[in-house]
Symmetry: C2
Subunit: 361 residues, 2 copies
């Protein structure tokens, strides 16, 4: 992978050293352990006092409410395993490279989120008949595109009422960590990370489309600066593999002994089940089918896959993998593939793992 | 800080996206929460089964031993708050920039480590009179400098017997996370991170100096490739500040309203107490003393500092800070400062925080 796009800027490096990727070998864990889940913090991690914190539900509702974390914990509880991926995953592999957080492939993680369903809360507040969208406001504050703002994203009323959407206060059975949005965050299974607003402070029902910066200016697939583009929403299919063998520290090139290897990985899509995973050992010239395991973490988490590989002999190999979902979306470059876009979102480029196979000894 | 050293390579970016820095605003926490402590994984995070795992104590000892994690947990327990910093912290600010993990300032964290003292274990094993060094072998395996290896580092017998050195199985009261070395790691308070071997599998007493790659080839301050250099050991003094105000997403430049501000931060040294912290608001032309708080986390953790700042008016400021310890080591450039070195270790360059002060409103 190196040599393709040298010249990462110091601004990008500043973002890369403060945001966290999931080291790809952590695909070994069905649920990503605390501290290995990817993290994208737009501004700073805010210091929130959960004792004085309130969630305000308002706007076009009949019964505005202000809830404490104790109120929320007393409500009906649900838990779901959810694979979450940053919309910018793969950005640094686009040419030219859009300047923002320079992810390669590692902006993903799967956690078991526990919280209370959003739908029931909206139901109780009584959403007006003319409501169109629901805005989620975080406590993280900063500038983006020259505009001072709190981080805010909206869902359509229909999406906000989906039964899987939850207000989460636990992650993998532990209280939410500060960097994951404590005391409360939105979790919208199937969607890219930008929708899952952290440090949630307010839920506001609108009778018109939300015009906020993070909704209208960014997180859209735009061909050029004139193109209004279409919003980024659910995660496109992606497969990743656990790199086999052992790595070189600096280049990450893998050293693998001759013989039979079981390649393993995980694949996901926000649009439905994974229908197939293709594996190539010759830099994408030929593809074979991996064995995709049935879901064991519920409908919103990644699925494991395995592929038996016996290299024809010592030498250099370039392994890659790509996924297709049951809804017909494919990571392979079909015509409707989003391809390059101004913001660098949803790059379908397959992970490439350079491997040197050596005589076993 | 940007504009000084553009051109980070894709190999460096691969390391930056998988290793984790502590976002600097996490200086707000006396103990770094799980998942925000810095992480430098040389090879891959190994999958270790704690049920079959053993710690082997051998080499020049009278009574070699093999211990289970249950054996270790049954031994005398101690807990210490320890500030740990990567020896490569600041590397990407050197000119020219040594090619490795490209840290800026964020490779640090403070945790409360719980485990059992190493000295008593060595005592029971009976270290031979001719013993010189003690080697710690991790289960992480890979290539570095063209050499296939498990990660290994040594301490002198005298350093290994120091009472604060511990074999840790808990971090902040929780079982050690996989990425921090589960089920057991070495913690050597005061030293840079490379000494704190993770996924510890063996402790081997030698009657000669350890010649391993991580001891003899790297982690040395070398002026050039001919210079054998001197080993990196304890942490040099460093001060960091919580950037005031709010950030711009991409540039991280801060926006701060006019008026009085209390700047806060933390400072540490592996050589003793922090004697003073200097703060500059004009890019290092003038320095004033910060107020350094007494230790409240014991002898091995960072100390808080505060500085009252009232900008003279709206405009651009460049804030920085630097520390001096009671042993006479200074972050400011004195003649014996290590300065540039081949491996890019222990860069004393102060953190620089560009700030725009605006009319409050």
């Amino acid at each position: 992978m190196p040599d393709e796009a040298d010249g990462v800027t110091m601004e990008e490096l500043q973002l890369a050293t403060r945001n966290h990727g999931m080291p790809v070998e952590a695909l070994n864990y069905p649920l990503t352990p605390a501290g290995l889940h990817y993290l994208l913090i737009h501004f700073d991690i805010p210091a929130v006092d959960s004792q004085t914190w309130r969630l305000d539900v308002g706007g076009r509702v009949a019964r505005p409410r202000s809830l404490t974390i104790t109120d929320l914990r007393a409500r009906p509880q649900m838990t779901a395993a959810v694979t979450m991926e940053c919309a910018g995953n793969g950005r640094a592999l686009f040419h030219p490279r859009p300047l923002s957080q320079p992810w390669l492939h590692e902006a993903v993680g799967t956690a078991e989120w526990t919280g209370t369903p959003l739908a029931a809360l909206l139901e109780e507040a009584g959403v007006d008949d003319d409501a169109v969208e629901v805005v989620f406001t975080g406590l993280d504050r900063g500038l983006d595109g020259g505009i001072e703002q709190q981080y805010e994203r909206a869902l359509s009323v229909a999406d906000a009422f989906r039964p899987e959407v939850l207000l989460a206060y636990q992650m993998n059975g532990q209280p939410l960590l500060p960097q994951h949005g404590a005391p409360l965050r939105l979790v919208t299974p199937g969607w890219y990370g930008m929708t899952n607003v952290k440090w949630l402070a307010a839920i506001t029902v609108l009778d018109e489309p939300f015009a906020g910066y993070q909704q209208q200016q960014v997180y859209r697939l735009r061909r050029d600066s004139e193109d209004p583009g279409v919003p980024v929403s659910r995660m496109r299919p992606r497969a990743l593999m656990v790199p086999p063998g052992i790595p070189d520290f600096y280049t990450r090139r893998r050293l693998v002994p001759e013989g039979r290897h079981t390649l393993t990985g995980r694949a996901w899509s926000g649009w439905g089940d994974i229908a197939s995973v293709g594996v190539s050992v010759d830099d994408g010239r030929n593809w074979e089918h991996a064995r995709v395991e049935p879901r064991d973490l519920g409908p919103w988490a990644w699925q494991a896959w395995t592929f038996e590989w016996e290299p024809s002999g010592p030498g250099e190999y370039l392994l890659s993998c790509q996924a297709q979902d049951a809804a017909g979306n494919s990571q392979a470059g079909e015509p409707e593939s989003p391809g390059w876009n101004v913001g660098g979102y949803a790059n379908p480029a397959p992970q490439r793992v350079p491997v040197t196979v050596v005589v076993a000894g």
